[in-house]
Every structure is written in structure tokens, then in C-alpha cells.
Amino acid sequence: SQQGEEDPQALSIQEGENATMNCSYKTSINNLQWYRQNSGRGLVHLILIRSNEREKHSGRLRVTLDTSKKSSSLLITASRAADTASYFCARRGRDDKIIFGKGTRLHILP
């Protein structure tokens, strides 16, 4: 399978809480990206972190990258109902292909 590992597969939290999703991969990367997908259609690019970076922030999003452990995490702070979606990590390897994980389905409870 092309796909890496993400956990959890599904996550339900109360509105206002923080949501953390993790991603692991096996091969070396140029960068790692996180995407959001609503209703099984278009993916929206959230944030990109390069292999020489350890942490990036964008609004309520925080991404970390640990290349020694081949893992990344996405933290969404102060979650909102509109954050309900599937979240995918995608790693860009040396061959410039971007390979997606299976995703985490996040559900924000009112």
C-alpha cells in the first residue's frame, strides 16, 4: 500500500477542546503536508512543513515534524464545529510524489 499510518482513525471531541492527530511514515521526505477534506470531495491544503523544520503554526493549527521518528502531528486548538472533516497527512518524497495517509475523521461535538 502507498499509504502511511495515521492515528487515530476517528476522533470525537467537544467544541472548544484541542484535537491532535498523528502521522507516521517510512521513507525519507522533502516535506510533509496536511490537508482537510469535507464530504469526500476537494482537499484543502492546510500547512506544509519542510524536512528541515520542526514546527510550524498557522492560526489555530500547529504542526510538528520529527524526522528521527518519521512522524508528524497536527494540533487544532479551540476546535469549532466547522473543523469537522477528514484530515490527511501527505508526504513528499525525493521522487516528488506525494503520498497520502488514510486520514483521521474528526467530529466536533456541540
Binding site: Q2, Q3, N30, N31, Q33, Y35, G40, R41, G42, L43, V44, H45, L48, R50, S51, F88, A90, R92, D95, D96, K97, I98, I99, F100, G101, K102, G103
Partner: protein, 115 residues
């Protein structure tokens, strides 16, 4: 255009028929990618173009699948003798170029249903 455009948005075809799916990338984006996504799964890489040439087609599942990008802009994914297992959402994405600093912009996809 302002975004990546994919047409049609939905396509229902009979088993054994030929289909073409079109992707119109963001103007000026040299890299174009095709993915296929089945229900509950992440997008699966099919092929990517840098300019007019297919830089990597290793994800195409078999020789019934073919993609072209003759002028380095619009791309067409072609599927011959469709099978029910080909049913999925086909996603196209473009990027300014290849490289570690560039993310993708995705289209809304074409939902292909083979009956």
C-alpha cells in the same frame, strides 16, 4: 482560472465503456497530479506531469489507464474498458512546480460510477 477545474463532476458509465476525465489546472502551474480516492481511504497516487511529460506514472493500476497533457496545461485521464472496481472519486491537483516548498491545489474531483 482561479482554481483547479475538473469536469465532469459526476460520471456514470456502463461496464466496458471508455471514459475521459478532464482537469484544467491553475494557470501557470507546471506540475499536475492525478489521484484516485475510494470511500474511506486517502487519495491514491496515479500519475504526475511536469510540463507535457509524464514524470511518474507508476501509480496507474494497469494499461487501461492513460493520461495526457499535450500542451502542458489541461490534462485528460482516459480509462478504457471500465470495470466496477474503477468506481471512485478521481482528483486532480496542480502545483506551481515540483520542489520541497510547494503544496498542491486540488480540484473538486470527478465521481466515477461504473454500473
Amino acid at each position: 482560472g482561479a482554481g483547479v477545474s475538473q469536469t465532469p463532476s459526476n460520471k456514470v458509465t456502463e461496464k466496458g465503456k471508455y471514459v475521459e476525465l478532464r482537469c484544467d489546472p491553475i494557470s501557470g502551474h507546471t506540475a499536475l497530479y492525478w489521484y484516485r480516492q475510494s470511500l474511506g481511504q486517502g487519495p491514491e497516487f496515479l500519475i504526475y506531469f511536469q510540463g507535457t511529460g509524464a514524470a511518474d506514472d507508476s501509480g496507474l493500476p494497469n494499461d487501461r489507464f492513460f493520461a495526457v497533457r499535450p500542451e502542458g496545461s489541461v490534462s485528460t485521464l482516459k480509462i478504457q474498458r471500465t470495470e466496477r472496481g474503477d468506481s471512485a472519486v478521481y482528483l486532480c491537483a496542480s502545483s506551481l512546480t515540483v520542489g520541497p516548498s510547494y503544496g498542491y491545489t486540488f480540484g473538486s474531483g470527478t465521481r466515477l460510477t461504473v454500473v
